[in-house]
């Protein structure tokens, strides 16, 4: 049996609906026979009648309603059609969900699923990676699973967590990533994973670009360089300890993320390593992000816009030679 990243998301939601009466799914076209824009809820409306609900085309209303339900003791999962559209709901997510516990001591256990990241020809409004934006705000957990196993266990954990969770699942991985079977347990939230061990350079990544980084590491292994690849898994909380321990082994750091370059998760990793682990560094830490422009439609432009194995390899080579 083989299961894709997308199927793992569906399976996790099915398990959640099955195991916990408080869970319901809320989103545009998730119900009925349609099963969502990417079919992440395919068949669930039929299997769990009245618990997979279509909403109006208003992300603001979707999240607002979910917050209300969460305050009444429910565990809602909100599906955005595309991460990009969640910006319409920023007020509900950041100002209401993010601050509620700190203002009232009453938690808001909602999970907002964001189909994130670029795919060929998707353009500026269907390709964004918003983890850096959400991570900037206090009160939110921001998950960025890169593997089939993680997307399954982390989604289950997201619903179990009392804090509001922004769940950034990568659309490119939906069909491309497969696993043999679903795991029964995973690492806890906030713990990074050493995806590949090495001694010459640490690459910190998350979500889809992790796989590009692993490919680069394999390529360099043929030349005798051993690159350690750290999968952050969640950008908030950020597992600084695991990153610092890795840099202590390698002395060199490259951070790769698909979101825009200004500020953000990769900058945060570098800021923490330079301020807490400057003495561990043999070279100035580097990072690669998407370019600081809207995401282009044209496949060639898009390929040049996002970090890819070629740009990562070039940066890694510079770092290794420094």
């Amino acid at each position: 049996m083989s299961i894709t990243y997308l199927e793992a998301i569906r399976e996790a939601q099915a398990k959640l609906l099955r195991d916990d009466d408080r869970v319901f799914i809320y989103g545009q076209d998730v119900g009925g026979s349609f099963g969502g824009a990417f079919k992440a809820t395919k068949g669930l409306a039929k299997e769990f009648p009245g618990r997979v609900l279509n909403t109006p085309i208003s992300e603001d209303a979707m999240v607002g309603t979910a917050i209300g339900a969460a305050l009444e003791g429910m565990r809602p999962i909100v599906e955005m059609q595309f991460a990009d559209f969640s910006s319409t709901a920023l007020n509900q997510i950041l100002n209401n969900a993010g601050t509620h516990y700190w203002r009232t001591n009453v938690p808001v256990p909602i999970t907002v699923r964001l189909p994130s990241g670029g795919t060929k020809g998707s353009g500026p409004f269907h390709s964004q990676s918003m983890e850096s934006l959400y991570a900037h705000y206090p009160g939110l957990i921001v998950m960025t699973p890169a593997t089939v196993e993680d997307v399954y266990t982390m989604l289950i954990e997201a619903v179990a967590i009392d804090d509001p969770v922004v769940f950034c699942e990568h659309k490119y991985l939906y069909y491309h990533l497969k696993a043999d079977k679903l795991p029964t347990e995973g690492l806890p939230t906030g713990r990074a994973r050493i995806a590949r061990e090495g001694r010459d350079l640490t690459i910190v990544a998350y979500s889809a670009v992790l796989h590009e980084c692993l490919a680069v590491a394999e390529q360099f292994a043929r030349e005798g360089f051993e690159i350690e690849v750290v999968d952050l898994r969640s950008v908030k909380p950020l597992d600084t300890d695991t990153v610092l321990a890795s840099v202590a082994r390698t002395g060199r750091l490259l951070c790769v993320g698909e979101s825009f370059p200004w500020g953000g998760a990769t900058a945060e990793v570098i800021a923490r390593v330079t301020s807490e682990g400057f003495h561990l560094l043999d070279a100035a830490p580097q990072r690669i992000n998407a370019r600081d422009t809207p995401i282009p439609y044209h496949p060639n432009l898009w390929a040049a816009h996002r970090p890819n194995a070629k740009t990562i390899a070039a940066k890694a080579r510079n770092l290794l030679q420094e």
């Binding site: 002395g251 003495h279 561990l280 560094l281 043999d282 420094e322």
Partner: protein
């Protein structure tokens, strides 16, 4: 009358700009062709800017002490129609020239970068990317700090990193090799001397030497009470020579030449496992006898290692009498906060040709050396200072 521009010329390869130091003409003055009218200084030399043609100075727009890039118009000459046609009466086409200046500036910046000097972006200085043998990564530095190592301690390591950088692996290998050898803890005074010498050695130091006839000094000291040693004659001679010309001991700090208010001269004294250099304040105003008393006190304290740091601070030069070890010649290192160090070798009887007697006569000769920071002064200046010291030593009645 048409005007011909006077342009900052290309003064040599790699020179992008020059500073005006003197303007020798005034508006309205008649000038010949190729007449030097403006002196400009680059980091290499002072050079003259000449007139493009015969005529009358219309105006000089350049100002003294201002720096202008190559190609800048510094002024105009009113010239005949004929000359104006030949030398281009129109001011140079601005945009193209501007581009040229920019590209020259960029080239100069690029060159500085190669020379590992600060380059600029948008006119602001930026540090050059650190690579190569001199670069120590934060990790290597942190390890060095932990072990109290300095970069001088790493001199013996052949770096295996990029551009022969010393990597952490090189450092650890070096340290593990050291662990295999016998070692003891260095004394505080040894560590202090090491630190001072290491700091001093970061400068370009040079040494010059000459011989000096010590007989006059040896004779003179018999007549004094208490009897000063040759080193004190040297201290006094150096102090008087510097009093005549105090800028010879000036320190160069950044772009400033810093000169002390007082001729304070140190004397190197050997102490157990190191040296101390107590300072004699205002040595030019202290008689040789007072100098001797003061010196004997200081030597007593130095031998007991009871010279406090402030008694060793603030000197402008020092004397090292390595002749007491029977050494003829040396290249002593000036103290890190001083520019000069005078070294005196052992006196030896040598035959000396005497024109008067038309034969050889015995003479007590010693070698005297002057080590100096070549940033602050050059061989000529140092040589004249040394000659003046020798003159004093050979005429000790003046001391």
């Amino acid at each position: 009358m048409p005007q011909v521009p006077i342009i900052m010329p290309q003064l040599g390869e790699s020179i992008a700009e020059a500073t005006v130091v003197d303007v020798k003409v005034k508006s309205g003055e008649e000038v010949a062709a190729d007449q030097e009218i403006i002196d400009v200084e680059t980091n290499k030399a002072v050079m003259g800017v000449t007139t493009p043609c015969k005529g009358k100075i219309d105006k000089i727009t350049a100002r003294v002490k201002e720096t202008y890039p190559v190609g800048t118009v510094l002024g105009y000459v009113e010239a005949s129609e004929e000359d104006a046609a030949r030398f281009g009466k129109k001011p140079p086409a601005q945009p193209r020239d501007q581009v040229e200046v920019e590209s020259r500036r960029a080239a100069a910046t690029e060159m500085k970068r190669d020379g590992a000097r600060a380059s600029t972006i948008g006119g602001l200085p930026v540090p050059v990317a650190a690579k190569g043998a001199g670069f120590l990564s934060p990790r290597v530095r942190a390890r060095m700090t932990e072990l109290q190592l300095t970069s001088a301690d790493l001199a013996g390591i052949l770096g295996t990193g990029a551009g022969n950088r010393v990597t952490i692996k090189d450092l650890e290998n070096f340290l593990s090799n050291i662990d295999k050898q016998k070692s003891t803890e260095a004394s505080a005074i040894r560590a202090g001397v090491a630190d001072a010498m290491r700091r001093s050695w970061s400068r370009p130091l040079a040494t010059i030497g000459s011989s000096v006839n010590l007989d006059p000094v040896l004779q003179d000291r018999q007549s004094r009470d208490p009897k000063p040693g040759p080193a004190l004659y040297a201290v006094r001679a150096l102090a008087l020579a510097l009093a005549e010309n105090p800028s010879a001991a000036a320190k160069l700090i950044g772009g400033r030449v810093v000169q002390s208010n007082s001729i304070d001269v140190g004397v190197a004294v050997e102490a157990e496992d190191g040296i101390m250099v107590p300072i004699i304040r205002a040595a030019d105003k202290t008689s040789l006898v007072d100098l001797t008393t003061k010196y004997n006190e200081l030597v007593g304290l130095a031998r007991q290692r009871r010279i406090s740091p402030d008694m060793q601070a603030g000197g402008i030069a020092a004397v090292s009498n390595f002749g007491t070890f029977g050494v003829e010649w040396g290249t002593p290192i000036p103290l890190p906060d001083q520019t000069l160090l005078l070294g005196l070798g052992v006196g030896k009887k040598v035959p000396s040709w005497s024109e008067e007697k038309n034969g050889f006569t015995p003479k007590t000769e010693a070698q005297i050396t002057l080590s100096f920071d070549h940033r602050s002064l050059d061989g000529g200046r140092a040589g004249r200072l040394l000659k003046r010291v020798i003159e004093f030593l050979e005429n000790p009645s003046k001391l």
